[in-house]
Symmetry: C2
Subunit: 237 residues, 2 copies
């Protein structure tokens, strides 16, 4: 079986499986995006989350939240009010943490080449310890303040999903045009739309359609680094 | 000029430039790692941070910290005590945020192939708003509690750098052995140590030497997902 056929078989197998997430379905805000990718023969998604505000209790093992021993007190993909958190916190008997987790998407790609438009990551999170051994460490006023920030992030995150969707759509359309030429010819000419080209602008070469940015401020001259690891070698230095 | 020569020239150019970071040098805890990578002809690092506790003031624009308008009240790559933060907070006149940022490394790779061992990311952060319009929103006790967590993360982060260093060293040694065979022959045999192989275990194929994990708990069956996007197609489904 050739690689393409193998990929098709693998994709069909994965997509036919039951959705094993707690929710059992794809989040509303990323349904279109997931469909766009799964409708293309070169991709399929294995997991996604549109972004959420989550209140976890316990399971911290020195460094990080341990899945095994932690309990979800609250999960929402919509803006959240203080009272929801206050009520949920009453059930906390360990170390509760409020987190905002932005949009995430895992995509399987048929070829390494196809993966170049899909290196997306974001670190626009929020991770705030609220209680210790069941005891609340902050005021209600602080929780209110925090939720305003979390809700703003949620709002901005939604805009970014939309921006990512339209950029991806545009990129895939461009690829479709390129692919209407025979592939051998394109390869011969080194003319694939996702290959870096000589004398190309580095910012352009770095995947301009990727909208999620890293907010880690690296202390160097890389000010315009979009925080995206696009694993190819820009040739225009 | 062939691609290898071009890469060499680019690398030499980048490494000869002054370090434009605020600190002006590579963080102590990642010096060895940076040297290991820069000593290899197929890689060079463009930026790095060993991990830090940072207190920022202001510049929040709805969603994220804006570099342009924000002020660093405190930055440390070592464990931090409450009084340091309390003193630094006195200078805050906007929205102060305490963050723990783990180890990050940006690596340029000669070939897409070389990039496969280097897809590293981590989301083990901490991002806690502390003040609003110059007014402290939490107690000193809370700051103390928070710093204990941040310092634990710092400690764990250091262990991960060490683990990553030794795994990378091991992987590069394996590659050196593979490369002692003529490359054409290796390619012909599909025997490169970083190429996915048929019937290979997916976890192995996913870059087992990468130690940084994503703590985002995806709501699916992907429980053993190391949170690493290795952009190739595992063929053993």
């Amino acid at each position: 079986m050739d690689r393409s056929a193998e990929f098709r078989r693998w994709k069909a197998q994965c997509l036919s499986k039951a959705d094993l997430s707690r929710k059992g379905s794809v989040d509303e805000d990323v349904v279109e995006l997931v469909q766009l990718l799964n409708g293309r023969e070169e991709f399929f998604t294995t997991s996604s989350c549109a972004g959420r505000i989550i209140l976890l209790d316990g399971g911290i093992d020195g460094f990080e939240v341990q899945k095994q021993n932690c309990c979800w007190l609250l999960v929402t993909h919509k803006p959240c009010v203080k009272d929801d958190v206050i009520v949920a916190l009453k059930k906390a008997n360990s170390d509760a943490i409020l987190k905002f987790e932005p949009f995430i998407l895992h995509v399987q790609c048929r070829q390494l080449q196809d993966a170049q438009i899909l290196a997306v990551r974001s670190t626009h999170g929020l991770e705030v310890p609220l209680s210790h051994k069941g005891q609340l460490m902050v005021t209600e006023e602080y929780i209110d303040f925090l939720l305003k920030i979390a809700n703003q992030k949620m709002e901005e995150n939604k805009k970014r999903i939309e921006r990512f969707y339209s950029c991806l759509q545009h990129a895939l359309e461009r690829e479709a045009i390129t692919n209407s030429h025979p592939r051998e010819k394109i390869r011969g000419e080194e003319n694939s739309s996702y290959s870096p080209k000589k004398k190309r602008n580095p910012e352009k070469a770095r995947g301009k359609c990727i909208t999620e940015e890293n907010d880690k401020e690296l202390e160097n001259d890389d000010d315009d680094d979009p925080g995206i690891s696009v694993p190819f070698f820009p040739e225009d230095y």
